[in-house]
Amino acid sequence: MDRFTERLADFDVSYTLTAPDDVAAAIEDVTTQPAIGVELPDGLGDLPESVETDPSPAELREASTGVTEARLGIADYGSLVLPTTADGVEPISLFPEHHVGVVSSEDVVPGMADALADLGECFRDASGSAVVATGPSATADMGALVKGAHGPKTVHAIIVEP
């Protein structure tokens, strides 16, 4: 976990450590409106009321914050593994300028190989997809490094400790 939080910081991702019961409050703290999100899986706590689920495409474009679960954390890289789901983790974590990713401390794996071993089974069995997201989107194509190219400018991780 120390490695994970150290690496999150390396990639300019802020984070909160919290218990499942306090997840909603922790999300509220780091969310600007309008906010959209997906219902969190069991064990990761609840979304606050202020976060809309099932956004329309227009709401997707207008939202300021997107809140989603992360399937895994990767300690070596400070990465959040964002699953592609029918309720829209991928667009919700991508279109708004601020992304809040919620991950269980129990799902933080040490390295890239551990993450891919987990994903390999999922992809083969259920045709799943996921994005290994490390820090905000970025580009150096305009003459200097800029955070926030097509995707989020800022990322916050909420690490849920059961």
Binding site: D54, S56, P57, A58, L60, R61, Y77, S79, T84, T85, A86, D87, G88, V89, E90, P91, L94, F95, M112, A113, L116, A117, L119, G120, F123, R124, S127, G128, S129, A130, V131, V132, A133, T134, G135, P136, S137, A138, T139, A140, D141, M142, G143, A144, L145, V146, G148, A149, H150, G151, P152
Partner: protein, 728 residues
């Protein structure tokens, strides 16, 4: 090459150096420094590279089976796989897909393979609007320019020039000045295009046969949006991108960003098993729909790759993961970028393999000579491709391709085993052994003649030797002649055969004498064999048959010594590197291994003697003498430059070492009229490092012959081989 062609090429390179050189240098050198830093953090970088290499070797070996397995997986997932024979076939398929969904707009994320296919032109011919969403690619699309780098396509453009371009083309309401202004402007413009698009086209960095998963390595998030915002996803990838399993992605994901732009990892590694499971997004109707409405087509492109797979020398090219490490670590590329060092699509060292395999030898021939064989890319390549060798082989094929039908007329009349149509410049430099022997035999007359302005003019005109370069000064007494009169060492501890390479024997004889004196002082008997031409000169010109003849002569002369228990010591690093690396390709395995195991770079050997108890007092005492050392590119690739630093340090010298990848001379390269300017531009970085307050008054030493010649042209103060510092 004719004189006129040389002039045109020289002018083109000079123009690029002036207009794009600074931006390209700043970016590529930044990437390259980042690579060194980033890979240093890995626990076992070498093991990871070996793992990546092994996966690629296996995948290319089993490619047809893997494609079958992949097809099954893709179809099971609900997509289609199309294996396209060539560019026209691939483009026709994609056009049909777009037409089938009545698409009139396509957004694309960055894909070199679609550049290779010229897919945009094909779609635009059907009146389909195509928009590149990678910001660098979009800048080039707006500017109507070609990429200058395979990963960062617009590195040749400065922030100022992009601001000018946007202002001129879009006439925006706000002032666009900072990189952030430009990025946000582009983000807004492209967001409109993305939500309106009917079809999303991506490349794929890797595709796994087990599950039909593709990996896309990106930072901006444009590939994610391209896939998510459109219902129809077309992925276009070279057929060589297929690897066996999802788990096999691990070493590549860890290596690709570090090797390329020096990032530990890029912001996003999308692992997509399409059609993806996100809801569809209809921005016009403001409705979402089920993921089941998504469509996916994987287009795998052959376009020459399956033939490359059968080609023993080009096959390695297919292991390439397009990370750009070979571009960024290349001293020449750092100066001129991909607009000079590139073909139709690909750029940098590995581009020779790609362009030769995909487009043909004629395209590869246009830029292949910019690879000097310095070998700095070899260790940088995450899959260990011997990129200099691919360049050498292609150069040989280019040489042989010209006027081959006249070979029978003049074969046997030239001093080498090459075809008659060979470029006279290559023949001149490739046969340096003939020149050197003649030069010493007729010195000093040969030197007077070569210095005359009339001869220099003729040489420039007919063989393209730039008249601004000093030519080597041949010594009348060769090293071998000098050594013949040396008294024998009594009761020697070891027996050494010092390889009297052409330069040490004929030109830089003093360093040879110093090497003999130093070794003898350490109790070693030194003999000089009757063989001087290593094959390095013809090899660098792509004259493989001649290089092989020389290698055979060297092995005939030296292997019996090694078998008799004598050690081979080499002064010239490029020849030492030849014994260690390229001879593997030129000799039979046993003789290569015997010679490689039995030969040592001179400081490596001195270090070994001192470590085994030889008396360091027999050598010169450094007494704190301040030294600026430039090691040799090929020496650094083999990691033996540390011995020079260690010995000098032990003897009390105060050593600072340069950290440029190459001096820019690289054998004959810097003498060639068409490359003189790039050679000097590369050299400027070295000159700058040796002209700081900390280094300007240091004694300059360098291990390589060409480095010494380059330093002589770059600096006012003299330079010499470090063995001359330590010899008694």
């Amino acid at each position: 090459m004719t004189g006129n062609a040389r002039t045109t090429k020289a002018e083109h390179i000079r123009h690029l150096l002036e207009t794009e050189g600074d931006a390209v240098a700043a970016n590529t050198q930044g990437f390259n420094d980042g690579r060194y830093e980033s890979v240093a953090d890995l626990e076992d970088y070498e093991a990871l590279k070996e793992e990546a290499r092994a996966i690629k070797e296996d995948a290319i070996e089993r490619l047809p089976d893997l494609v079958d397995e992949l097809r099954e997986a893709v179809e099971e997932n609900g997509g289609t796989l199309y294996l396209a024979d060539d560019a026209a076939d691939a483009n026709r398929y994609v056009r049909d897909v777009v037409a089938d969904v009545d698409g009139d707009s396509v957004v694309k994320s960055k894909s070199m393979t679609t550049e290779e296919l010229e897919l945009n032109d094909a779609l635009e011919a059907d009146d389909v609007e195509v928009v590149e969403t990678d910001l660098g690619e979009w800048v080039l699309q707006v500017a109507d320019e070609a990429p200058s780098h395979i990963v960062a396509p617009a590195i040749h453009k400065s922030r100022e020039s992009i601001a000018e371009l946007f202002t001129e083309v879009f006439d925006p309401d706000e002032d666009l000045e900072t990189a952030a202004d430009l990025t946000m402007f582009a983000r807004r413009k492209l967001a409109e295009k993305i939500v309106d698009a009917d079809v999303g086209v991506t490349g794929a960095n890797f595709v796994t046969a087990d599950s039909g998963t593709m990996a896309l390595v990106t930072s901006e998030g444009n590939a994610r949006k391209t896939v998510t915002a459109t219902d129809t996803h077309v992925a276009v990838a070279g057929v060589e991108k297929v690897i066996p399993s999802v788990e096999d992605l691990a070493p590549f994901v860890e290596l690709i960003g570090r090797s390329g732009t020096g990032q530990d990892i890029t912001s996003y590694v999308s692992l997509l098993t399409p059609p993806v499971g996100s809801p569809t997004l209809d921005f016009d109707a403001d409705e979402t729909g089920p993921a089941a409405d998504r469509e996916f087509h994987l287009v795998l492109v052959d376009n020459g790759r399956m033939d490359m797979r059968e080609d023993d020398d080009l096959r390695e090219t297919l292991y390439c993961i397009r990370c750009s490490a070979c571009s960024n670590s290349c001293a020449n590329f750092q100066q001129v970028g991909g607009h000079a060092f590139g073909g139709e699509t690909y750029s940098g060292g590995i581009a020779t393999g790609w362009e030769a395999g995909i487009e043909g030898l004629d395209v590869a021939a246009e830029f292949n000579d910019l690879c000097t064989g310095c070998s700095r890319c070899v260790n940088a390549c995450p899959v260990g491709i011997d990129i200099p060798w691919i360049n050498t082989v292609v150069r040989d094929r280019v040489n042989r391709g010209e006027d081959a039908e006249f070979d029978w007329l003049v074969d046997g009349l030239v001093p080498d085993a090459e075809p008659a149509g060979l470029d006279p410049q290559k023949r001149l430099f490739g046969n340096f052994s003939t020149l050197a022997k003649l030069g010493s035999a007729t010195a000093p007359v040969s030197n007077w003649l070569s210095d005359l302005s009339v001869s220099r003019g003729l040489m420039e005109r007919f063989v393209g030797v730039d008249r601004r370069r000093d030519l080597p000064t041949f010594q009348r007494e060769t090293l071998r002649e000098w050594a013949a009169d040396r008294p024998p060492v009594r009761n020697p501890d070891r027996q050494v055969v010092l390889f009297p390479d052409l330069y040490t024997n004929h030109v830089q004889v003093e360093r040879g004498k110093a090497a003999v004196r130093a070794l003898e002082a350490l109790g070693v008997a030194v003999r000089l064999p009757d063989v001087t031409a290593s094959g390095r000169a013809p090899l660098s010109q792509g004259m493989l048959a001649t290089a092989r003849e020389h290698a055979t002569d060297v092995a005939d002369a030296l292997v019996p010594h090694v078998e008799a228990g004598r050690d081979v010591v080499v002064v010239e690093p490029s020849d030492y590197a030849l014994f260690q690396r390229e001879y593997e390709r030129l000799l039979d395995e046993d003789r290569y291994e015997t010679l490689a195991d039995g030969s040592y770079e001179v400081f490596e050997y001195v270090y070994g003697l001192l470590a085994n108890g030889a008396d360091a007092d027999a050598l010169a005492d450094g007494s704190g003498e301040r030294v600026a050392y430039h090691s040799h590119c090929q020496q650094r690739t083999l990691g033996v430059e540390t011995y020079t630093e260690a010995v000098l340090d032990d003897l009390g010298f105060d050593v600072v070492t340069s950290d440029v990848e190459c001096c820019g001379m690289a054998g004959s390269f810097g003498y060639k009229r068409e490359y003189y300017d790039v050679s000097m531009a590369v050299g400027e970085d070295l000159a700058t490092q040796f002209s700081t307050d900390e280094t300007v008054d240091r004694t300059v030493v360098a291990s390589g012959t060409s480095c010494l010649e380059q330093l002589d042209d770059l600096l006012a103060r003299p330079s010499k081989h470090p063995i001359e510092l330590v010899a008694p």
